[in-house]
């Protein structure tokens, strides 16, 4: 009885229970991804249906199939991967520039219509994004860009300026005294932006770049609408989604798993990196200066 009442014993007991609960939860959370990894290497069966959760034999065949498709024509994963990479690079550059420009203007500059523009941006953000899909599709069709990768770059980077809140929040925390001191020394607003604010904002710049880069890899709606049946210009997201269609599922299910692994690993690593910069950007801003 005495043991049970002792503070130390109770603490150890409580901690053990917590470790067990956390351990079980971790298993629940991570096991689908382990399942994904294991089955992308599974050798037996090949079709969706199999009667065991864990595979018995392993092979690299599906990865080879993915990157060097032997027979089929419409499955062209390397091409999709390159498409996505190119789109991601271009839209990343454009969106980073827009986001930083907009957030700097709203955070550090004071002009008449600033509040109004910010309200408009907020209102625009409240419309469901899918509402404009049809209009964007027709707009691109008129421009002759449907089924074209340029269209994707435009779509991903054009709205980027509306997502200025996080980096604006960061710029807001940099003391205004810095700007004032620089202005007294004769710096223009342009010089302040490039020479003072940007060098101080590395975390948020990296965060913005990474978010913009990840976006095209994960979008599967707009890309699908714009590309339609042009399999050559697919991005990985819609490519993988197509492989998981009921029509193609029996044939390509394991290639789908392998492709998911190939896409998920770099994105996951980038995201973990971005997370660090995000936390750094949000928490460190206040101490600066």
């Amino acid at each position: 009885m005495k043991l049970f009442k002792s503070y130390k014993f109770r603490r150890i007991l409580l901690n053990t229970i917590i470790y067990i609960i956390l351990g079980i939860m971790c298993i629940i959370w991570v096991s689908p991804f382990i399942y994904l990894m294991l089955h992308s290497f599974r050798a037996d069966g090949g079709v969706v249906t199999n009667d065991a959760v864990l595979p018995h034999r392993f092979t690299f065949q599906h990865y080879i199939e993915l990157f060097a498709p032997s027979t089929d024509t419409s499955l062209n994963f390397p091409r999709w991967f390159m498409n996505t990479f190119v789109v991601a690079c271009f839209s990343c550059v454009i969106s980073t520039i827009s986001v930083l420009a907009v957030s700097y203007a709203f955070s550090r500059l004071r002009f008449g219509i600033r509040k109004k523009l910010m309200n408009i941006a907020m209102i625009l953000g409240m419309f469901p994004g899918f509402m404009t899909m049809i209009a964007i599709y027709y707009l691109l069709k008129i421009m002759g860009l449907d089924g074209n990768l340029i269209a994707l770059v435009l779509c991903y980077s054009c709205g980027a300026g509306l997502g200025f809140q996080i980096s604006k929040g960061f710029f807001d925390t940099i003391p205004r005294a810095l700007d004032e001191a620089a202005t007294i020394d004769g710096a223009t607003k342009n010089q302040i932006f490039w020479k003072i604010i940007l060098p101080m904002s590395k975390p948020i710049v990296v965060y913005t770049i990474l978010t913009a880069f990840i976006g095209p890899w994960t979008d599967f709606i707009l890309a699908k609408i714009i590309m339609g049946d042009k399999h050559d210009n697919y991005t990985v997201a819609i490519g993988l989604q197509m492989m998981k269609d009921p029509d193609h599922m029996t044939q390509w299910f394991q290639e789908f798993l392998a492709g998911s692994v190939v896409v998920a690993i770099p994105i996951t690593l980038l995201f973990l990196k971005m997370q660090k910069y995000y936390v750094e950007g949000v928490t460190a801003g206040g101490v600066k200066g």
């Binding site: 899918f130 209009a135 973990l272």
Partner: protein, 501 residues
């Protein structure tokens, strides 16, 4: 009630008290909300009135060159020696005139009727069709018409600025000043007018790819446009799409569908938000408890779920939940003696699928809560705990009196944002069930469809109804905007924007 009295209440009484307070303030907040909107509209019209007044006053006071720039853009500027700007204004006028003559005027002419010429096809003796008249396409007329209106508004703004500029230069000449040179002006764009330099490019892109499509789709909500190919012509129908949705008295299929889906959407948003919030908070507290090691490892494990793209993790989940999927096999191995029970988690009964979706959403959403909560937990000032310990508080006491109130206080706004986010949570529903199980009673929707996925089904699915889809989009916007405005009106962070700087 005084502060001391409040502190003496037990948690339930406090909750009741706070709830009463919120309810009591609700009319006032809603009133304030409408007052804000009313004031905004009033300001708008006052602004227009002022604009008209200035327009007249400038004309009366202006000299002949200023008066002439009411007709010829930039004339005043050129007359006063500001050549480059005047010429720019003039070029814009010429371009706009050409645009209107060769393109815009026709679009505006057809805009009220959205076109009348049907596509005419003639058949010869062998049944081959030849197109006699291509006919008009209402969709294109509407799109080009919207474009023309937007361009006209922009040009009108330029026109007004041209008049203002002409008058300003006239006043400058009267004071004996010279207009600034191009070089000085260009330098000004890097300093005093730097916001124009920074914002013009993003705003142009947003205008073309966000605002123009948005106006177009809002207009579509007032037409009977159905789908891609079928009708080339459609008409304005006024509020029919909205009244169809709210036609409760006749209980039409559309109205029934809307109310059933809207109810499920709210239930879904509520369940998803609170399940994530409460469970996420518990896990975050466990991870961040003192004496627990490997905090980083646990956190990373959970973050992986966020990091993996949702289309991968959710498509995987939807496959694992099928009748032949991993879950059924696992359940069979564990409880059913190796026989697959073949439960159809996502396609079986409506409520089964809904429950599954909410559970899977926990799997997706809890890590987000853990991340944000961990940040907050680490920010609770340590000296609070220290002084509590010195005063002899037990761990349970410190938790209920310090940790919990602090967390709830800090995360309440986030909770409401998440609620709005869940109303718009497209990915989880679309990738997991795609709206299934199918329900023939609903108009183009399934049992798990929420408003935004229904919108998607109506614009991309088999039963196309663009007009209705746009109307739903507008309704979702109204719901979200009302919720957000009430939050923003009451939250401090919007007002204290400059607190740090």
């Amino acid at each position: 009630m005084t502060y001391v009295e409040y502190k003496q209440l037990n948690p339930f009484q406090r909750f009741a008290f706070n709830f009463k307070k919120i309810m009591k303030n609700l009319p006032r907040n809603i009133g304030r909300f409408f007052k804000t909107i009313g004031l905004a509209i009033a300001h708008f019209f006052i602004g227009i009135g002022k604009g008209f007044k200035n327009y007249g006053v400038t004309f009366v006071k202006g000299d002949w060159a200023t008066k002439l720039s009411y007709v010829i853009f930039g004339f005043g500027d050129i007359h006063k020696g500001k050549y480059y700007k005047g010429i720019l204004y003039f070029i814009i006028e010429v371009l706009y005139t050409l645009f209107m003559v060769f393109f815009g005027a026709e679009q505006l002419y057809w805009l009220p009727t959205l076109g009348t010429h049907e596509r005419v096809v003639a058949y010869d003796d062998f049944g081959f069709e030849t197109v006699v008249d291509e006919g008009q396409r209402s969709m294109l007329i509407l799109l080009y018409g919207t474009l023309t209106v937007v361009v006209t508004i922009v040009v009108f703004a330029i026109y007004i600025s041209n008049i203002k500029d002409a008058y300003r230069h006239q006043q400058m000449r009267e004071r004996g000043e010279k207009p600034t040179s191009l070089k000085v002006d260009a330098r000004e764009f890097l300093d005093g007018k730097y916001h124009i330099t920074l914002l013009s490019f993003p705003i142009l892109m947003i205008a073309v790819f966000n605002i123009l499509p948005l106006i177009f789709m809002i207009l579509i909500a007032f037409t009977n446009y159905h789908g891609f190919e079928h009708p080339t012509l459609f008409d304005w129908v006024g509020m029919v799409n909205f009244s169809n949705v709210f036609d409760v008295i006749n209980s039409t299929q559309k109205a029934n569908t809307f109310f059933s889906i809207a109810g499920w959407t709210l239930l879904w948003a509520f369940a998803a938000t609170f399940s994530n919030y409460i469970l996420g908070m518990i896990v975050a507290l466990m991870i961040n408890k003192k004496g627990i090691k490997f905090k980083g490892v646990f956190r990373t494990m959970f973050v992986i779920t966020i990091a993996v793209p949702q289309f991968v993790s959710l498509l995987l989940m939807s496959q694992m939940l099928t009748q032949e999927g991993a879950f059924n096999i696992l359940l069979g191995d564990l409880f059913n003696g190796g026989v697959n029970p073949k439960i159809d988690f996502l396609g079986g009964s409506a409520w089964g699928a809904r429950l599954t979706v909410i559970l899977v959403n926990c799997w997706v959403g809890i890590p987000y809560t853990i991340l944000s909560m961990s940040g907050i937990l680490m920010n609770i000032p340590e000296d609070l705990y220290e002084s509590a310990r010195i005063d002899g508080a037990t761990p349970v006491k410190t938790f209920t009196k310090i940790t919990l109130p602090y967390m709830i206080f800090v995360t309440t706004p986030q909770l409401i944002t998440q609620f709005v986010g869940n109303i718009n949570n497209f990915n989880v529903i679309f990738l997991l069930t795609g709206g299934k199980p199918a329900n023939p009673d609903l108009y183009g929707a399934g049992d798990t469809d929420i408003l935004v996925t229904w919108l998607y089904q109506l614009s991309m699915g088999e039963k196309k109804d663009y007009g209705l889809a746009s109307a739903i989009g507008i309704l979702v916007f109204i719901i979200c905007a009302t919720l957000s405005l009430i939050i923003y009106n009451n939250s401090k962070s919007m007002k204290d924007e400059e607190a740090f700087s």
